[in-house]
Symmetry: C2
Subunit: 297 residues, 2 copies
DNA sequence: CGCTACCATAATTAAATCCTATGAATATCA
DNA sequence: TGATATTCATAGGATTTAATTATGGTAGCG
């Protein structure tokens, strides 16, 4: 046989009341039900917890020791339920967030401060790497969510757009004042791009109708900052997202041009496993992300 | 609804295996039974403990926190059962022992040393007072057992004889060498007795056919030691039990005579509430008492 | 000596839990 | 791509557990 919580609760009532009738009332059951459960508890333990006298009911020495242990367990059960009540809802306890390198430097400073302000208790872990890797780690359960360029087309992930950012052309400062170029003119310029693996590289290529397979002669950089420095050195031109302008063009002899006509854009969003119960809490995070990106309305 | 231990056990298994089928095997139940219990647990908590993916089952952050609490509780339940197993039997944990004053000084020194030797862990409390008070305190549950003169004729108490002790006559040393007296001669001697309340007084009176109601002129003492000193001072004679001879006659000018013919005796035994579950353990104590009294065979 | 208080036992009913069978979704492999 | 396997969820009937009401027994009390 087996000790049950029910038996512990009944025992506690009886140990307090020292009277079967009153203890049964306290438990909202009939007196025989209590008698049976107490006796079964004693049988299970093979131990007498109460000394039954015609007029007086008493705890035995072992009954008292048992009561202490039982009360500890029952209290912990209560605390377990309290914990469940207090922890449910959309509170974020731990957030393991992935983010692509072409957004991280511009978004993270604001994001982290907003996030810790809105959720003071949050345990935030940030992982910066390229999209395929983020996807893997999401799927593995190593990450809870990731900020990436949409769409991903992963059926197991839900995508929520956060903002759309415009691409701008970065040219050497010597060309300042030159007229805005159209998108299709880019193919004829020496366009500097990020290394393979970065989604931003692929996006830029597709904007400009560049053949992804054609070899390019040393025109790849490992970060947007590097690319801008290369532009400043007169090696070519590059594209950067709107958001990167302030940070990246401050320390290089370059100028920025918006495109003539419809500007190329990319959609940035947050993704997580569709099965992740944090979903609602992550959804609540979207306005905060927009605010951090300066795109809140 | 309510969290059950069963649910915690099933949860623990699933948290370890992260696979419904294997966890169910571990619990020796079918997989649907496990599914249902886990779901009901989550419903009760209103909290998702597991993230179910087609291929992979994972604990949520809250699931991990829950697991820690659940494991604590389950471990304490196990310990509770272990405790019950280890503590049952006839081990004496605490013994609250009453004893009458006409035995205490002669028996206790031996008894305590024997008892603590046989039960090193024992928590021994001794209460020395007269029989009616011991009975009250036994009935109240303030004492576990008492060493008294039998019989008591209390239906709620069980009596177990331990030894029978002989009464001896104490006379002034000046009468040393006098011939043994017979019991019925005592009525004509100035017999010193204990104060009222002591059973030994009543026993002595009944031996000598003294009318208990007849007033006695200042011939009462508060202890056997006092009585013997009074005898030494030539005030009268007294009776003491066998066991007291060594201790009490050492420091007084008295001599001891056994009676001619059948000596008066009293039966000393241990009593406890019939309902006291310690009964078997107390029964086991009898040989030890006999040994302490020097009556073991 | 009957009455009352109190706990135990018995028989029946209600509830909880389990098992088998089956369904649905996804991954795996030909 | 379609068939198969894996895995978890759901449903219905059976079983076990625990409750209720009714009843019995024993000790104190007037």
């Amino acid at each position: 046989m087996n000790i049950t919580l029910r038996q512990l609760r009944y025992f506690r009532a009886l140990a307090q009341e020292l009277h079967f009738g009153r203890a049964a009332d306290k438990c909202a059951i009939s007196q025989p039900a209590l008698s049976v459960q107490i006796r079964e508890l004693e049988d299970t333990l093979n131990l007498e917890l109460f000394e039954r006298q015609p007029r007086a009911l008493r705890l035995t020495l072992r009954g008292e020791e048992f009561a202490e242990r039982a009360n500890v367990i029952l209290r912990e059960m209560d605390e377990l339920e309290d914990w469940a009540t207090s922890t449910r809802g959309t509170t974020l306890g731990r957030l393991r967030l992935g983010i692509i390198p072409t957004i991280a430097p511009y978004l993270l400073p604001n994001l982290i401060s907003q996030l810790t302000q809105a959720h003071p208790q949050i345990d935030l872990h940030v992982r910066e790497t390229v999209t395929p890797r983020l996807i893997d780690e999401l799927m593995d359960g190593q990450l809870d969510a990731a900020i990436v360029a949409l769409p991903l087309d992963e059926p197991a992930l839900v995508e929520t757009p956060v903002f759309t950012e415009e691409m701008v052309l970065v040219r050497p400062k010597t060309e300042a004042g030159a007229p805005p170029v159209a998108l299709d003119e880019l193919a004829r310029m020496r366009l500097l791009l990020l290394e393979e693996g970065h989604c931003f590289r692929d996006q830029a290529m597709s904007f400009c109708n560049i053949n992804p397979n054609r070899p390019r002669g040393g025109l790849d950089g490992s970060s947007l900052g590097t690319l801008v420095q290369m532009v400043g050195a007169g090696i070519g031109v590059t594209l950067i997202p709107d958001m990167a302008i302030d940070v990246e063009t401050r320390s290089a002899p370059v100028c920025v041009n918006r495109f003539a006509g419809a500007a190329p854009t990319r959609s940035i969003g947050v993704v997580w496993r569709a099965t992740n119960p944090m979903g609602p809490a992550l959804q609540d995070l979207v306005p905060l992300l927009q605010q951090a990106a300066g795109y809140e309305d």
